[in-house]
Symmetry: D3
Subunit: 136 residues, 6 copies
């Protein structure tokens, strides 16, 4: 019985969109307000979807307490109340866009959850703008 | 023109997670607070997705009044304001986990909606924990 | 500068509405499905409103971490994953209605927050049914 | 890196369900209240999902400002504060059902977004009734 | 023990803003898109707040089933799937603005609920625009 | 006829809580993660409540387009995609707490809306933490 369970989490962070290979003018033109030199920020919402087989003995695909603890330990601790550009090493060399941020969180959770479980995530930068990886 | 329509419903119920083949200690260890002997409860939210062909004459995939009545008759009447463990025969022999509950509701709706319509459901135990069957 | 801060919390519990001084018939007639002998349950949502003066040094009315810890310690621990009728002494002698439950939580928080802070709460039994105390 | 980005929009409109090839009686029987001769209306919510490859230089799949402007120009301007039956030529010959409306908006956005991007939309007639095209 | 209980309801309707004493130009200038001759529409959400004393025997301020039935009978039946301007006599002589609509619903419910209960309502035209009467 | 109308808006910003008169240790102790030197951020949601008399000719308390434009011009332009501590002069000498931020926005809107209209606002730092001024 292949099923998916979902768990939501949230955290907040500051960031800016800025490509160091571009002039200030080009950065402003491409990223607009999101390029503000002093950063801005978001309440990020995260939906983690885990797919696999239900264990008939426990009735669980995965203990949601375990899943929730993994998200807290690996994702919330790393990003909550942080500045993505300054406090997160991975964004020294990548644009801190929602697309790249979503992919980074997916990599972290995919590794943490092991081979038997498939992971897909949705990362909400605002309630109206969000990103899903991998694409289905 | 293959399309999906969705209908949301809600009901509330009491339940507990308990495996009768285990000791009390093991039940407490695996299920934690969810094992409380006197039960706890939830406002369950249900999203039913029905996929098929649109009827060009009515413009409908399915009359949502019909779908809504099926959900009321087959799902809400059976589970609303009930104790899943004590009032629902299917949970005498299965753990009343959200995974198993989701699969049970899917079986009921899949049978009720017939062969021409594909059914997928999401069952929310809380706004942050939910399950989808079948997995995509 | 008199201001109000709000903090939301949530927990879930089983309960039933039942007046031991009435016959089974009268209980069924008055409470309907909510009288189910085996209980049903809810995801309760709680909004706590605290009103008072802002401390100019901290910029806080109350540290929301402190408020959140009080709610966890005094409310969530007492009611989360419990059966209100069986596990909560106060409901041995009072109907476990949302009105009485709201008033009980208000008493607990009003005492915990002290004389300088005014407390008002909203308790949501479902997203569509909720209660506020004290009335304004 | 294939990813999906989502953007939400909203608008409101009047409509009625009515098949001109049927008698008044049959229209009432099939469509019920939705057949009201003087129309009724909805706050429509739209979720647009766009799938494709992330541009490593910008970190964007598509600039959400661009996507939002396309939705405003092509969808909101055409439908917002309109009567679907009277003000929208496409519904002179098609039933103004959510299914057909969803497909119409998909056609508009699929053409506007070009061949490199896949589009899927969800159209919410109410928070509890919605439609998705294409089906997955 | 003075307490407030709340009940939410929803319905949808078409309307337009139009003052028959004004020229077409003035109507367009004042009401903009909301003046569209062929109407537009909304999913209205209604929050009804009822304040009074809790009955110690039932634990209820008011049976929410009773309140919900009054709202259905007196409000939903009258406005749901209707055109406010054409199907509702009260709007023949009053502008169908959310302010006037809110006051009309309050009058209906205030009369239906009797002298011992105070009524206040919030009427949502959209999730972002809403009105409350009476003002507190 | 005294009534209240509400309008919601949203914007996002970076900030940190920091009292320059305190040592780094005391700042960390009082503000915890919110003191992060590199800032963090939020999607702020704003609910503006305006109370006054309805104009019988227009049926409006205030044209919501006008209210919405005032909020855009005076609030969103000033705070959206900004760093409250670095980009907003008022927070050079005040703690950028939600309490102080709420009071600042109230001052701006109270002045903009004039003497005939009463203003009260709710500022949401997250969906679970928010502040209201003035207190009622």
């Amino acid at each position: 019985m292949r099923i998916s369970v979902f768990r939501k989490a949230h955290f907040n962070a500051a960031h800016r969109l800025h490509n160091p290979n571009w002039s200030e003018e080009k950065n402003k033109e491409v990223y607009g307000l999101c390029n503000n030199a002093n950063y801005h920020g978001h309440n990020y919402n995260l939906e983690v979807k885990v797919t696999g087989e239900v264990d008939p003995e426990t009735g669980y695909l995965i203990d949601l307490k375990v899943l929730s603890d993994i998200i807290k330990e690996k994702v919330e601790k790393k990003f909550d109340h942080k500045n993505l550009n300054l406090d997160v090493p991975e964004f020294k060399t990548t644009i801190a866009s929602t697309e790249n941020f979503c992919y980074l969180i997916w990599q972290i959770l995919d590794e943490a959850l092991g081979e038997d479980l498939d992971v897909q995530i949705r990362l909400f930068e605002t309630p109206r703008n969000y990103v899903e990886y991998p694409a289905t």
